[in-house]
């Protein structure tokens, strides 16, 4: 148990329910599973939790080929085979060929660390099940050496998922769950405020309007997300675009520097068509 509490940081706006899920996870030492649209700051959450609590962060990014075992350790049999053929002395100690995984590193951390298991849904369907015992008991055994690794401190575990695969029930039962909803206009304003303090109010308002209008265009293949909005604002600031230029986009014309918001040519095309139709109707 730990008394640390996460309450957002100056760079990260956490909603009440998000804080609750994270704090429940911290207090009870159970993983927090975070789902949500891409670009809503799932991965960043772990970084911010680590930063605000002053804990080291261990990141484990999952790919479709990642095996649960790799988070614990890997036994490099090929290297050992090579060494044995070359007559290297290291070959006698099998421990020389055991490589620590991220979970192992987190377990032996001197202070309670934050462990991020990023995009767990990318891996095979059985992947989460293979980690149940390790995450429950916070220990595992290295078969090659017979050594048992036990966590010095229960890490704060944050797991993100893009919902590409359903996760097994047994795994879900052990987690706290949070779904990051797409922020409403008000929350978005505070998020932008955090990232671009002193952004001109007029520009911000117009930009947000334009942004939400783009999001509402039906049939977009990929709706722009928070991170794209932030990129776009960065561009707008760099180009020093006045608020008035954005107001034109009120009428469904294409917003300036739209490349930051729309990420595929079908969407851009659709958008241009809508803008064209609108201009024609307006006449």
């Amino acid at each position: 148990m730990s008394s640390a509490r996460f309450e957002g940081t100056e760079r990260y706006v956490a909603t009440e329910d998000l804080m609750m899920a994270v704090n429940a996870g911290i207090t009870l030492g159970r993983p927090v599973l975070v789902k949500g649209e891409p670009g809503t700051g799932k991965t960043q959450l772990a970084e911010e939790v680590a930063k605000s609590l002053g804990r080291p962060l261990f990141e484990w990014h999952i790919k479709s080929t990642t095996k649960a075992q790799q988070g614990l350790y890997e036994y490099d049999a090929v290297a050992r085979l090579r060494d044995s053929q070359l007559g290297d002395d290291r070959v006698k100690d099998i421990g020389n060929y055991i490589r620590k995984g991220r979970i192992w590193e987190a377990f032996i951390s001197e202070v309670q660390p934050v462990l991020l298991i990023d995009e767990i849904d990318k891996a095979d369907i059985e992947f989460p099940n293979d980690l149940l015992r390790e995450l429950d008991q916070m220990e595992f055994t290295v078969y090659e050496t017979g050594e048992t690794v036990r966590a010095h401190h229960r890490p704060i575990i944050i797991i993100t998922s893009n919902n590409e695969k359903e996760l097994p029930d047994a795994f879900l039962r052990r987690c706290f769950f949070h779904y990051i909803r797409f922020p409403d206009a008000e929350t978005m304003q505070s998020i932008v405020e955090v990232h671009f303090p002193g952004l001109k109010q007029a520009l911000l308002r117009e930009a947000l309007n334009a942004f939400y209008q783009v999001r509402e265009v039906p049939g977009l293949k990929k709706k722009p997300s928070t991170s794209e909005l932030l990129d776009w604002l960065k561009l707008l600031l760099a180009e020093d675009i006045p608020a008035e230029a954005l107001r034109a986009s009120d009428k469904r014309a294409i917003p300036p520097l739209y490349g930051a918001l729309l990420k595929n040519e079908q969407d851009v095309h659709l958008f241009e068509q809508l803008a064209f139709m609108h201009r024609r109707n307006a006449r």
Partner: protein, 406 residues
């Protein structure tokens, strides 16, 4: 109180487990959520519900349950929730008063006194003295406390007037019918069964290492066949007529299935399955394939998926000559029955919404013929149908349905 809530959730179809329930209690004991209902709501949701599609249902149960609870609390707190009392204690009672009450009997007594004070004020509410005077600090504005139990408000800066769970913000996420191919693919992926079959043409690295090690370091190469999805699927698609409304979803389903299964055979039919089906819709009258031929060609290890709205006249199922397109010697149900006996792992996917099924007799008939294995063509339906495919259909022998002549 929480046990009741727990069972209510389960009754609402939310499969909350005992572990999760105990976790919630543990979290409450550890004071993760203190006294606010909002905090309790967030904690309960994070602990018990692991799918955002179910948030809406959870919100409904939560609202229903806690309306009841608030009524239970009436006797105790005279409609004033305790958490609010605690916060008001500092505002309404002076330091001296508090110390006095503390010396009289501690917090219980303090609560009682506070309640007394509030009741008095409630009486003078419209008169507008202290009660309204505290307007700046009171979290619920000039309208005062609402006995219905509508949100009391948290600390300052919290301007919401409606309870979070009553907003039901998650309603549009609930098992939405809109499904893209990606989602269908993922649903179908559940049907995967991996097996290594065929020629050994891949290097078996772990095997090679193991046998080399056993061989005292002398390389011993091991090969193995490629691992691939061994599930075989036979897909029958209804085309034309009433199915025209469902073209898009059927296309999506079809293209997803094509991408997902290596062994996928598909055939078309119109309205119901009779003695022949076809592969090419443009030449459907010229190139028909007898159903017996299909059954002979593909073994019983195929999984049968029929996609159709099963909406037609009941005659088309139960009478010879019922087909709208041609004269059929044997009724459609006989043919479906034979098909099911050849492929016991079968489901029927219906793109019509489930609520409408009961109004169409032919859907009911088909459903019975399918031993109840009819599922809506939504994500949820697909998921369930994959479950349905795991066990074989119990086919009742139909009267007057002889085996077809080979």
């Amino acid at each position: 109180m929480l046990a009741e809530f727990f069972f209510l959730l389960r009754k609402a179809g939310l499969r909350v487990s005992i572990t999760e329930y105990l976790t919630l209690l543990e979290a409450l004991q550890a004071r993760v959520a203190s006294v606010s209902v909002d905090e309790f709501y967030y904690l309960a949701r994070a602990t018990l519900i692991k799918d955002e599609a179910l948030f809406d249902r959870f919100d409904q149960v939560f609202a229903a349950h806690f309306k009841g609870i608030e009524q239970l609390f009436k006797a105790f707190s005279a409609e004033v929730p305790e958490e609010w009392l605690r916060r008001q204690a500092e505002l309404l009672l002076s330091e001296e008063e508090r110390r006095k009450i503390e010396s009289l009997g501690g917090f219980e007594a303090l609560m009682e006194a506070l309640q007394q004070r509030l009741r008095e004020q409630d009486g003078q509410h419209h008169g507008g003295n202290k009660w309204i005077g505290t307007g700046g600090t009171s979290p619920f504005g000039h309208s005062g406390f609402n006995p219905e139990g509508v949100r009391i408000g948290g600390k300052g800066g919290n301007r919401r007037a409606v309870k979070v769970w009553e907003k039901r913000e998650y309603r549009n996420l609930d098992d939405s019918v809109q499904i893209g191919t990606r989602n269908i693919k993922l649903a179908l992926r559940r049907l995967r069964r991996f097996a290594r079959e065929g020629a050994a043409d891949q290097l078996d690295l772990p095997g090679t290492i193991e046998s080399t090690a056993k061989n005292a370091g002398l390389l011993d190469i091991r090969m193995q066949p490629e691992r691939h999805n061994a599930v075989k699927v036979l897909l029958f698609l209804d085309v034309g007529g009433s199915m025209d409304d469902h073209v898009r979803v059927c296309e999506e389903m079809f293209s997803a299935a094509r991408a997902e299964f290596k062994h996928l055979e598909y055939y078309y039919f119109h309205n119901f399955i009779y003695e022949s089906v076809w592969k090419d819709n443009r030449r459907r009258h010229a190139e028909r394939i007898p159903l017996t031929e299909v059954m002979r060609r593909y073994g019983p290890d195929y999984r049968l998926i029929i996609v159709g709205d099963a909406t037609m006249s009941p005659y088309e199922i139960s009478y010879p000559g019922g087909s709208v397109e041609h004269w059929n010697d044997e009724p459609g149900q006989v043919w479906l029955n034979r098909l099911l006996r050849a492929y016991p792992h079968a489901v029927w996917l219906n793109p019509e919404p489930e609520q409408r099924w009961s109004y169409t007799p032919s859907v009911q008939m088909t459903r019975e013929l399918m031993d109840d294995r009819m599922y809506p063509l939504s994500l949820r339906g697909l998921d369930e149908s994959i479950q349905g495919l795991r066990r074989p259909v119990a086919v009742a022998p139909l009267a007057g349905a002889p085996e077809p002549a080979p």
